[in-house]
Symmetry: C2
Subunit: 377 residues, 2 copies
């Protein structure tokens, strides 16, 4: 078995854990920066390490289309190709096929889609997606799932759950390497379908479970509700991964419900658009009010950007389209989320997650306001 998970401490439903992978040990709850195309945008692996990143995510869909998984296999696998020797989780491409690729068509075999790059036609089957991830050599692979949009009708979600279970079974049967493969619970915002999906996948005995199809536009309260229904049905001794979630308050709420792993493009994407995560909400450095603001992005923050540069300089860089500007904002945002998860782990260790959660909820009103004012990125 390529994966071992150890729970060191519980605080309510929250867990402090350790995930043992072929490329090292990961402390959970963990936030995984997203390296869609085999690079966490704008960052070097050494910089990620220095920020405290323990595990990163890469996208099978993107790497399959470009440069091609065969080239990465020839290069000695994704770790070597991208010069990151820590653990990597690859998603299955299910979400991308159902959100990015045009003209998808479901068949008995799998899903046919067109590349968003050149329009060429491709088939993903559960078996092929397992083989692709084995070629990439990731530490954790994900099964191909069907991720319906939000909102989706009961009928659509019912079909997606059935297909996801059938594909999950085929994925397990297709494995040829000792790669840890996670099942993905679907079911939209329908309680019985979430429960059915969880039960069916748990019966297949995966080494870990993801919760998919959330943070796709549904209200936050509904997302937390789905976690309340789903997480208790997952085996307590196995890691739980909430896919695509990385807003600070969502991470805290999900950890409090027993989730161990997270990934999100938020810190990197926001950074490339001039946005900074702060304890009191987001800050858009492009705003004219920062042109003569010679203080740091976040007073007291110990990241490289806040320690060495002013808001006025960052404002100038971003307005002028300078790469250093988005590097510095990306650095700050990743530092913010990685430090938050480190604080979450420390809080669980002390049995004080409730305190951290309450403190965050107090701020959260302000945070939400800014989120709504600026729109979601």
């Amino acid at each position: 078995m390529a994966l071992r998970f150890e729970i060191l401490k519980q605080d309510g439903a929250a867990r402090l854990g350790r995930l043992y992978t072929p490329h090292g040990v990961v402390d959970t709850p963990v936030f995984m920066p997203v390296g869609t195309q085999g690079t966490v945008k704008a960052m070097t692996p050494e910089e990620l390490r220095a920020l405290g990143a323990q595990m990163i995510l890469a996208n099978t869909y993107h790497l399959y289309l470009r440069p091609g998984t065969e080239i990465i296999r020839e290069a000695g696998g994704l770790h070597r190709f991208m010069h990151w020797d820590g653990p990597i989780l690859t998603d299955s491409g299910g979400y991308q096929v159902f959100s990015l690729a045009p003209l998808r068509r479901l068949t008995a075999e799998g899903v046919i889609f067109r590349s968003h790059l050149d329009g060429s036609e491709h088939l993903f089957t559960p078996e092929k997606v397992v083989a692709l991830q084995e070629a990439l050599g990731s530490d954790i692979a994900m099964v191909l799932d069907e991720c319906p949009p939000y909102p989706a009708s009961r009928e659509e979600v019912t079909a997606a759950v059935a297909r996801t279970t059938a594909w999950a079974e085929r994925s397990l049967a297709a494995q040829s390497a000792a790669q840890a493969l996670f099942g993905i619970v679907q079911g939209g915002v329908y309680r019985d379908l979430r429960e059915q999906s969880a039960r069916e996948l748990v019966a297949l005995d995966f080494p870990g479970y993801a919760i998919g199809g959330l943070s796709v536009g549904e209200p936050k309260e509904l997302m937390y509700q789905v976690l309340d229904w789903t997480v208790p049905l997952l085996p307590p001794e196995k890691p739980r991964y909430l896919m695509g979630v990385g807003h600070p308050d969502d991470i805290i709420e999900a950890v409090a419900r027993g989730v161990d792993m997270f990934d999100c493009v938020l810190p990197t994407r926001l950074g490339r658009h001039g946005g900074a995560l702060t304890p009191f909400g987001r800050l858009n450095i492009r705003n004219a009010c920062y042109a003569r603001d010679f203080g740091p992005l976040v007073p007291g923050c110990d990241c490289y950007a806040c320690q060495n540069y002013s808001r006025a300089y960052l404002h100038h860089l971003v307005r002028a389209g300078e790469i250093l500007g988005l590097r510095l904002l990306t650095t700050h945002n990743l530092h913010f989320l990685l430090k938050l998860t480190a604080e979450i782990r420390a809080a669980i260790a002390r049995g004080e997650l409730g305190l951290l959660r309450a403190r965050w909820r107090e701020r959260c009103g302000g945070n939400r306001t800014v989120l709504e004012a600026e729109g979601d990125t």
Copy 2:
């Protein structure tokens, strides 16, 4: 006097020197990476230091228009604003006004131009440009000059030389800080006009002299010819700066003729377009032949990019539009030129610049071929 220049060793016309500035000592011959908008594109100051950069250049024209020199003054000067505590040279904006800005108009006072950003109208006078650079707080400032295009008629160049001398005189009179101000020799490719410009400026006794209006499209041999005419007329005890020149072979040829300082956007701009400097010419990493090339960019190169990544990965990053790709190529290219200038200094110290120059000339045929095939960037 804000600047002291010491010549440690001569090898033919080439000089090994030391430039003492308020922000530190610079070994010459020196290559200055260009930080047009107050940042050397894609790089942090710490990375520049680690690559061996000793002094950088920033553009008065760009910083005046955005964010505005007043904001930089309020921030405590350009060094503090951009977090670079080494020496900075600022150009005067003369070249930019005469190449970038539309609708320029010469008056008795100076030059009126429109911003390339928003079309707003501005006046640069020699006095104003001195004041702007004093506000920026650079270690070396340049006089406002008139830089005619290539080719330009004898009449145009004659007028530009006269105006450049008149402006140089006004610039010296306008200085209120102890900033080192360099004169700029113009004169196009006309021997007598170059000689006249050099003589007139030398009579004004600047602490250093630049040679402007070269590398603007004229053949390389003509540029070397202009250096042969001009450099011997400059005071031997003062630093000589060839503006905008940074092709490896041009640096070597100019050093051999007695030039001490260089700047060029080549390494950074080339890097952002997928180009790498190599000892045998340029390499365009976008080319399909590199898709499965798992060797380093330049075998034996000890830069971060070559030590840790393959051509195949760089090819992928650049094709996918990933920021890390241009960061790595920029890093390699800056390393290449900074290491070349370090080798030039070592060669002068040993009295072996001739050997280095001959070795480079042997390769140069190949280099030129690639340059011509890919076009100048």
